[in-house]
Amino acid sequence: MYSKTNLSRFAAGALAAASLLASTAAFAGEVTVWCWDPNFNVAIMKEAAARYSAKHPETTFNIVDFAKADVEQKLQTALSSGTTDALPDIVLIEDYGAQKYLQSFPGAFAELSSKVDFSGFAPYKVQLMTMDGAVYGMPFDSGVTGLYYRKDYLEQAGFKPEDMQDLTWDRFIEIGKQVEAKTGKKMLGLDVNDAGFVRILMQSAGGWYFDKDGNLSIENNAALKAALETEQKILQANIHKPAAGWTEWVATFTSGDVATVTTGVWITGTVKAQADQSGKWGVAPIPKLNVEGASHASNLGGSSWYVTASSAEKDEAIDFLNEVYAKDVDFYQKILTERGAVGSLMAARNGPAYSEADAFFGGEKVWQNFSDWLAKVPAVNYGVFTNEVDTAVTAHLPSLGQGAPIDDVLKAVDSQAQGQIQ
């Protein structure tokens, strides 16, 4: 009896010791990553991790998936409290917020410019993560924009795919009126609590809420003014279906209620998820504003990877990002085909996946188009207060619909923004 108990005790002890050893050995090289979309950046990070682990078996990954707002809140709390234990090794940050984190928490993120060659990335992407000449992030997905349109609805209204190329927003509104008259469908869904549409238009003309030096630029901002004018024309022409919040907005086109969607390329996965709409969609460059510097290329959202400076696995994390995200062209082909992710590494566009035709879009070479537009996205300074000014613009969108003069709206936005950015 005694010997049996002792034996089992010994066995248990040995097991415990073995598992302890195993867990410490694994921990030595575990890279923790925070990101937010299980069908997009989480899945992509898992793919990247698998590629790196295949060559470096001693490195393991712990990819933590939670809501974007929670990632931001947790990051901001950990950085402010100074408890670096709570931070991951790599964190995904949306591009609009990059400068906010870099400037309000100096020294919190590792500088990568000495270890990574950034010349191969889309320039606008590198610029937004640069502070005092040093680059602090690894560019990831781009939000290059396109005009997704329902070929079947437009055809009923008498428009061919050629008619959708090289549009102006005024022409877009005219088409919208005819589409509604002939098909009863609205031209686009608009979330009145979100200024994303205004941001797309503004950046397409090379403008932002801030000038090159990061100073607030509202009242004399031609691009912003033109963007607001366009939104007002659309609201007053009533060719839009109003939506409150993201889910409702997405439902406007997944349900087939609207004829077009103007947004970032990352929406492709959601559009393609409606298998019954296959072959009915086309993609054109977004319409152009009627101001100097206007183009058909813009950006919405997009995010990048940052390594925390306090991380114990800092060098490992940087090496991982450099090896996969800055060099592996094949990786970019896979995430494009599987997840619809257009990376910002320019070399990736020469890969085979980018030149493939997509049956969902009636055999169009949509990826080649998107990567062409990506190279043309005007670089702007997102500054540190994009969220604040965006809130100010959002707050004044309803008055826009009621016909308030644009100059008054700009003045009101300016005064609210001034109060916020100090």
Binding site: A69, E72, Q73, Q76, T77, L79, S80, G82, K100, Q103, S104, F105, P106, V192, N193, K241, P242, A243, A244, G245, W246, E248, V384, F385, N387, E388, T391, A392, T394, A395, H396, L397, P398, S399, S415, Q416, G419, Q420, I421, Q422
Partner: protein
């Protein structure tokens, strides 16, 4: 000496008493008193994130010039001035009705009206959001019975968004207040009502002149609790508007603004702390006013 002995015993009991409460006092000091003092200290600093500098009363000056703060303050005050009286009156009337022994299925009605306040704040907000969307159940129902001809933009028009928030919190909390009144009504002597009935006092007068005065202390208590709750309103507006307080800042409350200043915007911890002290002052002032208005004049 006898006196010395008692003194020693007293000291012994005192010491023991303090030792027993020391752990909780310590915890209260660390997790309640310290944060309160620390946030007061913080409210004198300004800057981006961790780059804070002493600013004196700079944050208070900023309050005056910040249109968003004034809007949030106006919204918060509007919410409690309109919502609290509606809810208290509704709860009182429901309690008076459900205190009637002759009513059938009384247990069912009481439970049904109380049930909303057991629901999770987030869950019911999400539910309201979907019910009140442009082509949600509520708009469809109103259109079907012909009350409206075009769908109401519950979450897209500033006025209706405020109405929706008031509807939501009233739905959630009326039953909760009703339970307080029901409990208090059990202590009201039935013979008072009987006497009033014999004297021919109509039902409405019995309600106004007997029920309400008898419940005065409970009404005061629930009014204060509801006022504090409404001033701190956060969960509902956060979930109904995806944290933005839209449309046009129409549902932005002080608490939501504090949250945004800390977690969504460039972190201004000092300014956020200043606004939280505005809430403290408002709660203190309003509670005092309510106590003053309902004081015993005898």
């Amino acid at each position: 000496m006898a006196a010395g002995k008692t003194g020693g015993l007293k000291r012994y009991y005192d010491l023991n008493g303090w030792l027993f409460v020391a752990p909780s006092l310590l915890l209260i000091a660390i997790f309640l008193v310290y944060p309160i003092l620390r946030s007061l200290y913080l409210s004198f600093f300004a800057g981006k994130g961790m780059m804070m500098k002493f600013a004196g009363f700079g944050n208070v000056v900023r309050l005056w010039n910040d249109p968003v703060f004034l809007q949030a303050l106006t919204n918060t005050v509007t919410f409690f001035i309109i919502q609290v009286p509606i809810m208290i009156t509704l709860a009182l009337m429901l309690a008076a009705v459900l205190n009637n022994d002759k009513l059938k299925f009384i247990g069912f009605f009481r439970t049904a009206i109380f049930l909303p306040c057991v629901a999770s704040l987030v869950a019911y907000s999400v539910l309201f959001k979907s019910m009140f969307s442009v082509d949600g159940v509520v708009n469809s129902a109103l259109l079907a019975i012909g009350l409206i001809s075009t769908p109401i933009g519950w979450l897209t028009e500033p006025f209706w968004a405020k109405v929706l928030v008031i509807l939501a919190i009233t739905w959630r909390w009326t039953g909760y207040n009703m339970i307080f009144y029901l409990a208090a009504l059990q202590n009201v002597d039935k013979s008072i009502y009987e006497a009033a009935r014999i004297d021919g006092v109509p039902a409405w007068a019995r309600f106004v002149y007997i029920t309400v005065p008898m419940l005065k202390p409970v009404i005061l208590f629930t009014t204060i609790i509801s006022t504090i709750g409404t001033i701190q309103l956060f969960d509902e507006v956060y979930n109904l508007t995806e944290g933005r307080g839209g449309p046009a800042n129409a549902t932005l409350t002080l608490s939501l603004y504090i949250y945004n200043l800390t977690f969504r915007f460039m972190p201004s911890f000092g300014y956020a702390a200043t606004i939280s002290y505005v809430i403290v002052l408002m709660v203190a002032l309003l509670s005092f006013l309510q106590f003053y208005a309902a004081r015993d004049r005898s």
